[in-house]
C-alpha cells in the first residue's frame, strides 16, 4: 500500500488542510510570508502541497517550486522557515493520530522539495 493510501488519500488531505493552514497562519516564525495573500487560493495551494507530501497524485516539478517561491526567497525565506513548515506539518498529522513512522515518511517527501523551494 502506498504512503498516500496508508494515510487515507484525499479524505486525509481534506482533514489535514484546515488544521495545517491554521497552524501556519499562527506560527510567528513564518506567518509574515502569508500575510496579504488570498486565503481561498492559498488554501488550494496548501491542499496541493499536502497531497504531494502525502505521496499523492501531483504534477508539480522542481521548476514550479522554484518559480512559486522565488518572491519569498527574495524576502528572506530560508532553511529555518522550511523547518518550521515541516514541523507544523508533523504536528498536524500527530493531531490527526498518524503514527510517528508515517509522519517521518511524509517529512522525508517534503524534504525532497527543500532545495527547489529555497532556490538553492
Amino acid at each position: 500500500m502506498s504512503l498516500y493510501q496508508q494515510l487515507g488519500g484525499e479524505a486525509a488531505v481534506n482533514a489535514a488542510v484546515d488544521i495545517f493552514y491554521r497552524k501556519v497562519l499562527q506560527d510567528e516564525r513564518i506567518n509574515r510570508f502569508f500575510s496579504g495573500v488570498d486565503m481561498e487560493k492559498q488554501a488550494a495551494k496548501q491542499k496541493a502541497f499536502l497531497t504531494m507530501a502525502f505521496g499523492g497524485p501531483n504534477n508539480y516539478t522542481g521548476a514550479d517550486m522554484r518559480r512559486g517561491h522565488a518572491h519569498l526567497v527574495a524576502q528572506g525565506l530560508n532553511d529555518s522557515h522550511f523547518d518550521a513548515v515541516v514541523e507544523d506539518l508533523g504536528a498536524t498529522l500527530k493531531e490527526l493520530g498518524v503514527s510517528d513512522a508515517l509522519i517521518a515518511q511524509v517529512a522525508a517527501v517534503a524534504e525532497t522539495t527543500r532545495n527547489d523551494v529555497l532556490g538553492k
Binding site: 488542510v17 484546515d18 493552514y21 497562519l25 486565503m39 488550494a44 495551494k45 496541493a48 497524485p57 508539480y60
Partner: protein, 326 residues
Amino acid sequence: MTIIRFQGQDFVYEAPRTVLESLAEHGVEIPSGCRAGVCQSCLMRCLEGEVPAGAQEGLKPALVAQKYFLACRARPSSDLTVALADAEGLRQKARVLAVESLNQDIVALRLKPERPLDYRAGQYLRLYRQADLSRCYSLASVPELDDWLELHVRRIPEGRVSTWVHDQLQVGAQIEIGDSLGQCFYTAGQEGQTLLLLGTGSGLAPLYGIVRDALAQGHLGPIWLYHGSFTVEGLYHQAALQRLAEQFPNFHYVPCVDRASPEAQSLNARVGTVLEAAVSDHRGFTRHRVFLCGHPDMVKEARLKIFLGGASMAEIHADPFLPSGT
C-alpha cells in the same frame, strides 16, 4: 463518438483523455495548474450533458449544484457542452418594475427579466448601462419567494452605473442583465448547522436573500445575521428583518453601528463592527457555515479571524465588493 462542445465548436473526444487534455490536443488551452484535481485552476461548467463521475471531487457543494467540474478530472462517456467557469453566459433584457429608496445611499432596483433567470439567492449578476459599461450587483431576491429580481445599488460618487440607476432609471425602462454568477449561496443538507452572515452596507443584499432562502428551505439551526453601518441611517430592511426574527425563533438579526446614538439604542443596535459583535456572541466557529459580503477589508479580516476561530475554509463563502473605478 463523444463530442465536447466549447464556445460553439465541436471537438471529438477520445478516451481515456481528460477534457483538459482532449481540448489541448485540439489546440484549445484551458487554464490549468496541478492537473491532479487539487488546485481547481481548470474549473469549468457543464451547460449540457452529464458531469463525468469523479470530476467534482473536492468542489464546494455550491459549485457541484451548478454543475461545475474540473477539466483535468473529467472523462466523459457522453456528449458535453462546456464553458469556462468565469464565462458570463447569455445576456437578456429586463424591465424596471421599481426603483425604491432604502436609505440615503442605497436603492432597491426591481426587475422583471424577459425569461426566468436561473439563479440562487445570494448570487450576483451584471447590470448593463451600455454594452461596454456594466457593474455587478448581488441579488437580494429569492427565486421561490419573489416574482422579480431585486438588486441593492449603493450610490458611488461619480459612479457611472450607480448614479444612472439612482437618478435616471425610470419604471418601465428596458435594460440588459447578464447571467447569475457566484458561489455565495445556501445549500440544503445540514439543517442543524449554525449559519453566520456578516455584511456591511449594501452587502446586506445577498445575505437578505440567503437568510430568506435558508428559512424557506427549512433550515433548523441558528441563523445569525450581522449588518453593519457607520450610523443608524445606513441600516435598512430592519423592519422586515425584525418581523422575520419574530416569525422564526432560530433567526437572529443584529444591527451594528460604529457610533453610539439614541437612535441606535432604540433599535437595539450594537456599537462596534460586525466581526466584533459576532466574536463576542459565539464561542468559536467550529461548526459554522459563514457568509461574508461587503467591504473588502471586513471580508478579509473576518475570513482570517473566523477561520482561526475554527471554521473550515470550505465553509466560508465570501463576496467582497471590489471597487471598479467609477
